[in-house]
């Protein structure tokens, strides 16, 4: 019997597989396909202080081994979440983490405070890396100074596990990681989407209403793996790796590179059962390799 449980700060996961914010709704969208209790955790949709309509259609473009999205944090706001969504998901037998998004530090703090009051939410993921909103989001995540400010403010308002989600659209991601670590983040998740663009050559127009959008899917895995590896050498925090994980082998690569847990994002759209399949696949790998615990492969890359 292989031990698959991992800890992200004080957040305990039964296995390293989580689902990425914005790709898994509130979990309930997937309950027809999988037993949610087989997941380490679920990161629910990006939640902001006020409701948001998001960006206009079209919001999606298919790209080689990936896709661009420009959803722009469409959500009904934190109060709606607390009143209407939380009661539906609070008793799920898996760690339910809320992705907290915003445009100002005050927004982030206000949302974090409201989520802090929810007993069954053991952690938040601070989204300072959304490329699809005009204000805030990625702007916060591309400078160490602004990361310090927002993490410091949210840290004061939130006393459970604080995960900071990093943007890959930076020159040196280790600088950003260190800034978040210095201000008290418990964990870092990386990477958010790469900023990209798609054009319809025949119509001579951008495909997305916002012109640019966030690139995800198998295509970004090499960049994501590299950043996880770099950050794992730069900070002591447990990392949650994501970016192009399509199967168990991909997930194991992230664990070897230094991630303590991983998130499945875009792959959920192609196979709604993939998250559970990845959890099973990791266990099979560990058995095959004679490991007694997933801990043995975390950061286990042999140079």
């Amino acid at each position: 019997m292989v031990k698959t449980n991992v800890n992200i700060g004080s957040l305990k996961l039964k296995n390293p597989v989580m689902t990425a914010s914005g790709t898994f709704g509130y979990g309930t969208e997937y309950s027809d396909f999988i037993d949610l209790s087989k997941l380490g955790g679920i990161i629910v949709k990006g939640t902001t202080l006020a409701p948001r309509e998001g960006n206009p259609y079209p919001r999606m473009a298919e790209t080689p081994s990936g896709m661009l999205n420009a959803v722009g944090l469409q959500n009904k706001g934190v109060d709606y979440f607390v009143e209407n969504i939380y009661p539906q998901i609070k008793d799920l037998d898996t760690a339910v983490v809320v992705n907290v998004s915003g445009s100002t530090i005050e927004d982030y703090v206000a949302v974090a405070e409201k989520i802090n009051a929810l007993d069954k939410i053991p952690a938040i993921e601070l989204n300072i890396s959304c490329p699809n909103v005009k204000e805030g989001g990625m702007a916060f995540g591309t400078s160490p100074r602004s990361i310090e400010k927002v993490v410091k403010a949210v840290r004061q308002a939130y006393n459970k596990t604080l995960i900071v989600k990093l943007s890959p659209n930076v020159t040196d991601i280790t600088e950003m990681a260190r800034a978040a670590e210095a201000e008290g983040a418990d964990s870092l998740s990386l990477i958010n989407t790469l900023l990209g663009m798609a054009i319809d050559a025949e119509r001579r127009r951008p495909i997305l209403s916002t012109v640019t959008g966030g690139l995800s899917g198998a295509c970004v895995k090499p960049v994501a793996l590299r950043m996880v590896w770099q950050v794992s050498k730069a900070v002591k925090l447990p990392l949650i790796g994501l970016g192009g994980i399509m199967n168990a082998t991909d997930a194991i690569e992230f664990l070897l590179a230094g991630a303590t847990a991983i998130q499945i994002g875009t792959a959920n759209f192609i196979d709604p059962q993939i998250s559970v399949k990845v959890a099973e696949g990791i266990e099979e790998y560990l058995s095959r390799q004679g490991c007694h615990s997933v801990q043995e492969i975390i950061g286990g890359l042999v140079l």
């Binding site: 919001r59 999606m60 080689p64 081994s65 192609i270 709604p272």
Partner: protein, 258 residues
């Protein structure tokens, strides 16, 4: 209605015209097809096509309950559908279904119902017409296409009920667009269902609004997940942005900002 991820075994791949095929398939595990409503769709996995990263949403064309067969009408519009149209009898295709809401079946059997389809948009109308007839209605079809050859499954529609036709080149039926067909000036309908290219649906919606007829259209916004998770396929409605895959694909035009 519980959604399933299931392997389907292809029982037939019938050429409809040089750009379309009709695929028939049955659950590979021998299970009975779930209840599907006309207007619902499936998300088909495309294997072996590097240009198709995501699934392809395809309308349910018909469910043959007796043979436990699902029919999907595929028009070859890109690399993904081209690949799907190549499958052979016995091949396995993975699908997610049934997805979306489906068309409304009215209770009042006296209502005059018009089913308007354009191009491959006729697909869901075959099942809709069949179900309406089964429910005691007398649906009438109005189908439009560029040319006679682009009128898909015309014979099957004629088996169900009366069919009016327009073609842009006058090779079949009246010349012009569906909204120009004479039946619309001669008769008044109580409910119009429409599926086809965007401009056609907008023209039909405009007509329906003008004559104050109830009207449902089936949208084809580009989507990723098909189950309301990714929020990519949104339509701007009177309730704001809603997922076409989940709250649609069928919308009463009163909800749309057309």
């Amino acid at each position: 209605m519980k959604k399933s991820l299931i392997d389907m075994s292809v029982t037939a791949n019938l050429s409809v015209n040089n750009r379309s095929v009709l695929l028939k398939m049955t659950p590979a595990d021998g299970s009975v097809l779930p209840e599907c409503k006309p207007g619902q769709f499936v998300e088909m996995l495309v294997e072996g096509e590097p240009k198709a990263f995501l699934r392809r949403p395809i309308s349910i064309n018909y469910v043959d309950v007796e043979k436990n067969e699902l029919w999907l009408l595929i028009q070859k519009v890109g690399a993904g559908t081209l690949k799907l149209a190549e499958v052979k009898e016995g091949d396995i295709i993975n699908i997610i279904y049934p997805l979306g809401n489906g068309f409304t079946i009215p209770n009042n059997k006296e209502q005059k119902l018009l089913l308007v389809g354009g191009g491959v948009g006729v697909a869901p109308l075959l099942m809709l017409g069949t179900e309406l007839k089964k429910a005691g209605h007398t649906p009438v079809f109005l189908l439009g296409a560029r040319t006679k050859d682009d009128l898909l499954l015309l014979d099957k529609f004629k088996e169900i009920s009366e069919v009016y036709v327009t073609t842009e080149d006058a090779s079949e039926g009246e010349k012009g667009f569906v909204t120009q067909h004479s039946v619309l000036t001669k008769e008044r309908f109580d409910f119009i269902y429409c599926c086809g290219p965007g401009p056609m649906m907008k023209a039909v919606a405009q007509y329906a609004n003008k004559v104050a007829t109830e009207c449902e259209v089936s949208l084809e916004n580009k989507m990723a997940c098909g189950i309301g998770a990714c929020l990519c396929c949104v339509e701007d409605t009177t309730n704001g942005n809603v997922c076409v895959c989940k709250e649609g694909p069928v919308f009463n035009i009163k909800r749309l900002k057309w």
